[in-house]
Amino acid sequence: MEKVLTRNIEPGKAPTDMAAYEANGGYQGLRKAMLGMSPLECREVVSASNLRGRGGAGFPTGMKWSFVPMDDKCTPGHKYLVCNADEMEPGAFKDRLLMEYDPHQLIEGMILSAYCIGADLSYIFIRGEYVVAIERLREALDECYAKGYLGDNILGSGFKLDMYVHPSAGRYICGEETALINALEGKRANPRAKPPFPQVSGLWGRPTIVNNVETLCNIPHIIDRGADWFKSLGVGEDAGTKMFGVSGRVKTPGCWELPMGTPIREILENHAGGMQDGLQLKGFLPGGGSTDFLTQDHLDLAMDYNVIGKAGSRMGTGTMIILDDQTCPVGMVLNLIRFFAHESCGFCTPCRDGLPWTRQVLEDIEQGRGKTEDLDTLEYQINYIGAIGNTHCALAPGAMEPLQSALKYFREDFERHISGGCCPYHSGKGA
């Protein structure tokens, strides 16, 4: 397979600086756009490529950009492009790799994306713990200003763009794009009501696009090599390649760039090396901590947005978490719910009060104090907290996804905890 996003990334190799990036075709897309394509032409290529957002929701990128008011339809003032590099979804570890080893790819993608929407200011909103990525991105930005790829009149095109690395001060909710905008404005990171959508009224009330790191890293290649080439990379319904990851007790956990539509079994067995000796696969979350469990029965599905959606889960971040047969599913779901309860921003009641209640019920079950009625309570909570529209943002419904599917596939495990009055796994990790 042709490596696209990781063509400059090799484990153990030095990260890519400007010279290495350019020697391998870097900034060709930027040259092509600045020297001969209008923003509209660039946007049309991205739309035609069928690129879908890699941040979790899979929204078509070209369509998202099309809502930004352009030219004389836009009131005078700034427009913003923001890169979402918050990566705190439990089990997600793909954006770190892209930023640490090839910072210029992201920056080139951002310059091109800013050009497409007419933005003149851009931010890389990155979690503060990513100290290595922050440093490498800052060095790369300096190289870009020195080369005239950022600043006034980029490559003589008349296009002007400034870019800043903005390290965050923490909290998972900052990854939600409107909460992120509030954090960038120096406020508490509570999500905003939509509409208005950020494309129209985002940062400081101005048109703003927020895109994930991996989404933006695709843009230079799409502009350079075209929509048809990009579409041809996928082996299923979706276009391009994807960073797929596997964590949990497999032989070789890791993150690999593979064609969109790669079967789950291939990722698990060929790349992650299968389960560690003595362990069986019990289930897995296909796209991070807020996606529904799938099981053995789903291994032959293609990692495509709609295929995983039809199976009752979500592609999410494309980084899978594996549950083995000797790890307690109740304990695993409890760990996730504890995370989401802790990370609730506190703005709306079903999430702020509901998630700690769910956590309490799960703790009771896991620690052997559960009652049969508790399963009904969990169902009630799933229906109430999990319903889109009952909460102000998608954090709480996302939190319910692993729980609802665990109850569906591993109900017996919940029942055994209750009838036996203890955790049957006794792995010492359950408490």
């Binding site: 990566e87 713990e129 001060a169 954090a183 964590s247 949990g248």
Partner: protein, 172 residues
């Protein structure tokens, strides 16, 4: 004496010239002063380790905010410390992949070795132990950060290697 002048002298007795210059630098691309609230908290914390009441009030004045409003911002974010922390903060990942990898028992080993639980600082002031959301290194779980360093593939041996020469004296 004008009020504004008094406030100005208050601020500069707390914030250093360097800190104010760094905050001003941020303000260059931020349309409202309060927009630099988080940046300012981080700038002050970078030099002092944490944000004291006195610092918080000075920053609030500098940015024309009420200190209550700035307090609301400061306490929202887990990487802003409103209490003193040790020389290095241990950010211990207890999210799902690290949990599957057995992080609960490793956390116990750290607590036993250093004599601290979450939120506590060792007696010798070297380390503060805090939990952190998934550190995005799940293929190398279990992981933690000690200061700016990411430490992966944690096990009990690694923990004693890292901390054995640094015991806080709270040994049992």
């Amino acid at each position: 004496m004008s009020n504004a002048k008094m406030i100005q002298s208050d601020i500069s007795s707390v914030l250093t010239r360097q800190e104010m210059a760094e905050i001003d630098h941020e303000l260059e691309h931020i349309p409202y002063k309060s927009g630099a609230a988080i940046d300012a908290l981080k700038i002050v914390q970078a030099g002092r380790g944490w944000v004291s009441d006195e610092s918080l009030q000075a920053i609030a004045k500098y940015l024309d905010m009420s200190s209550e409003e700035l307090e609301g911002v400061a306490t929202f974010y887990n990487l802003i410390y409103r209490r003193p922390v040790g020389e290095k903060v241990i950010l211990f990942c207890d999210s799902v992949s690290c949990w599957i990898g057995g992080c609960d028992s490793i956390k116990q080993t750290i607590s036993d070795t250093l004599g601290v639980d979450y939120g506590e600082t060792t007696d010798d002031n070297r380390y503060t132990l805090l939990p952190v959301p998934c550190l995005g290194a799940c293929d190398r779980a279990p992981v933690m950060m000690v200061g700016d360093d990411l430490i992966t593939h944690l096990d009990d041996n690694k923990i004693s290697e890292i901390f054995s020469s640094n015991k806080s004296g709270v040994q049992s």
